[in-house]
Symmetry: C2
Subunit: 472 residues, 2 copies
């Protein structure tokens, strides 16, 4: 069901587009940083704000390592970086767009048109772009300044990898909700869905049980004409179910919604695709108080529950289950990455899971990748490049994980050393700590942000010491 | 004069070819490790000896990161690795051949035929080959074993870079005579030739002064027909000088010889291209006791002095100054690398230098690279990739430098931390410490080898601790 290609979702906040001010800029970079066989270049986009920056006192550059989407979305949803850059560090703010996403398309509209063209979409090439951008930003400085990388989700992985591979370029990294262990053989593939299950179960056991029961009920309804008619009408499906197999589409959509809710289970109203209330799982579970409901009441209740996600504003006319669950992200790009190096097995193999049993079938996955992209996923590639769990030689990285976040299952949850540390945010969903401060923030996320600032200060001090710059 | 393309020479010992036993093996690796656009593969060669290895007690792999030449040459000239593998560590011995050298040609005879084909000759691609090879060697092991990288000269740079970029693959690196600072802006370009000068000067001031005087004398002889005739006869030139400009060929050849002598100024007879006596600079300088000799006596003495290098056996019929100074090395490959990422400025700009003044002219250098290869050198590329002098985040590397070695000028000569350390060998020439033990070894090189062993033991202990393996 999961196929390993689940998007690392970015939750879009309630902050209206344009909360933060930046200049859109461009830098020409090589398409291929690792050979001299291809001299093509392209323009990568980055967003920059130097309002707060004081380079004369060697104030730092805060550098967001863009992930799988339009960079403006990340700029809008990483309030912590903006707030601490202006309030605490007098930092330059830079959001770098990842190649093959947003407007940073190496071959324009043709970027995904052939294996040759899309083949330069790799994490290592993206990191090399970021090195070029930082060198460019440094060009006119008379004395060096420290660079701190920030990133959430896949962007958090990149922030960590950036420090690992280029410690002379970035002094430290805040890697929020970065599932760098979500690779074959490192963590059980079922852990992701067990965390989602736990999020629902801890909110309401009956709610979780209701969902667990719903899969078979949907199968049964989708399996008969009368059932489909009932579903089409009562779930207000835009495109009606016509055959038994259409039940799978509905179930896939439902799974995606449940996973998304777990990721964005934030303590205040937020806006992910559609506006959401605070603690949306709680809001949803209010409609599922009793798992022993009969089938139709169960499905009716579930539909109401889902309306928290699909129709919080009350304006949705019909339910579109063909919708991409996260249209703002670069789906093609991530699908290719998941089909090459970002092979992150997700399955459901625990009887306690609220999801249907679903194995991680690499063969099937590989075949579907080959069909789509003419590439085969390389399950060991990321481990080979970045070390898997063997990261102890790295330094100056904070790994933060919200324990409500299903991606925490593949995250770094323990300290490796004094400078390779983990922060746990029990009440946090997917990179809550990177978001703007909010009155409803739990104490643990407030603390995590203080922790980040403390480490950034330590890294800066180390930088000034190494570069013999007196602190200001 | 130097053009930055001086080969990082490997000194071939007196050990006859075939001193060490190994199996020649092959591994299929990707031509391009950093994109999915090119699926071509090739067979890289490696030499392996498992006679001494005890994997059952997690004994290490000693992995030589091959540099710019046929790997058998490195296997024959890295006696320390063989000796300590068998005597001290029960280690597996592996010598990996660098792509585009020896028999490891990605496109066979066509490997250098076009910018597209030769363009995959980069240090990062070579390191990625080595990662694949190590993973291959590990495939059938039931418990992990530590890998220690060894390398001399450019191979030493690779050993250090290997640990920097892939600390999860190599536990530590012995980087002998690795001039990782010989890049633009990091050390003065004149330092290399000043060390050569110092080697001669400290052997005999008159010898050094004689050489210093010889350039103008050669110019003057090459500038007249009678002078050329005299040189052709008295220097027994295979191909006579015909015009004034031919003097440059002679001077270039002479410079190369002098530099080579400084690099292989070993304390015992060795065999570099031609057999050499112990301390060849001393042997040579015996013929140049007086710098106030008149021109013809000076040139006659110099010719005799050079015979130490060109005709130690007395069998050379004529002097071939068109000869490549180091035909066993892969000249084309290194020339391309020097024209792309390995931009190592060498000049002669000190009045105390025994060499003619020669500026480091990047423009001219770049143009000649473009003419030969259709590429432009990227003087900042290596610094961008590997950090220049900013290597303090690395760990578990020993940098050893013989202070007689001109490449020591670009070497790491001070400790960065407890695990990033420098060893100086005052009486050592180019990676003397990697060579087989010899009765004539000075105390400093014996000590350096003990130092290496001590650090290897520390790194192994750390590995066993990290992998929870009880030491044997």
């Amino acid at each position: 069901m999961w196929g390993g290609a689940v998007l690392l979702l970015l939750a879009v906040t309630g902050a209206a587009h344009g909360t933060y001010r930046y200049t859109e800029s461009w830098l020409t970079v090589p398409v291929d940083h690792f050979s001299f066989s291809n001299n093509a270049t392209f323009k990568m986009r980055y967003l920059i704000n130097d309002t707060f920056w004081q380079p004369e006192i060697n104030a730092p550059i805060f550098f967001y390592t863009g992930n799988e989407g339009d960079i403006t979305m990340f700029a809008e949803n990483t309030g912590f970086l903006w707030e601490t850059a202006s309030d605490d560090f007098a930092a330059l703010i830079v959001f770098a767009e990842h190649r093959y996403y947003g407007k940073s398309l190496p071959f324009g509209n043709e970027s995904f048109s052939s294996p040759q063209k899309v083949g330069y979409l790799t994490s290592q090439q993206a990191l090399a772009d970021y090195v070029d951008l930082i060198n460019h930003l440094m060009e006119n400085l008379t004395t060096p300044v420290p660079v701190i990388a920030f990133g959430g989700s896949y962007g958090g992985m990149l922030a960590a990898y950036f420090r690992m591979k280029y410690p002379h370029v970035v002094q430290g990294a805040i890697a929020a909700s970065a599932p760098i262990f979500q690779f074959p053989g490192l963590v059980p593939c079922g852990i992701f869905n067990m965390i989602v299950t736990s999020d629902f179960n801890s909110t309401s056991h009956e709610c979780m049980k209701s969902i667990q029961k719903s899969w078979k009920t949907i199968d049964s309804f989708a399996g008969s004409e009368s059932g489909r008619l009932w579903l089409n009408k009562n779930w207000k499906l835009c495109k009606p179910l016509n055959k038994t197999e259409d039940g799978l589409t509905l179930k896939t959509w439902l799974s995606d919604v449940l996973v998304n809710l777990a990721m964005v289970n934030y303590p205040y109203p937020s806006n992910f695709l559609a506006p959401l209330p605070a603690y949306p799982i709680k809001a949803m579970c209010r409609f599922l108080p009793n798992s022993s409901y009969s089938d139709k009441i169960l499905l009716t209740s579930l539909f109401k529950a889902l309306s928290v996600y699909t129709n919080y504003t009350g304006k949705t006319k019909c339910l579109n289950i063909q919708d991409d669950a996260s249209p703002q992200l670069g789906e093609s790009g991530w699908d290719f990455q998941a089909c090459t190096e970002m092979v992150m097995p997700i399955c459901s193999n625990d009887t306690k899971s609220m999801f249907e049993e679903a194995e991680w079938n690499f063969k099937k996955y590989s075949d579907s990748c080959y069909q789509k992209w003419k590439v085969r996923p390389q399950p060991d590639l990321a481990i080979k490049n970045y070390g898997g769990k063997d990261i102890s030689a790295a330094s100056n990285i904070v790994f933060s994980n919200g324990l409500l976040d299903p991606w925490a299952g593949g995250g770094v949850l323990r300290n490796y050393s004094d400078s390779l540390v983990a922060v746990l945010i029990p009440e946090g969903a997917h990179h809550l700590d990177l978001r703007a401060r909010n009155a409803a923030d739990p104490a643990s996320v407030i603390q995590a942000r203080e922790f980040h600032k403390h480490y950034i200060q330590q890294w800066m001090k180390q930088f000034y010491r190494q570069h013999k710059i007196s602190p200001h």
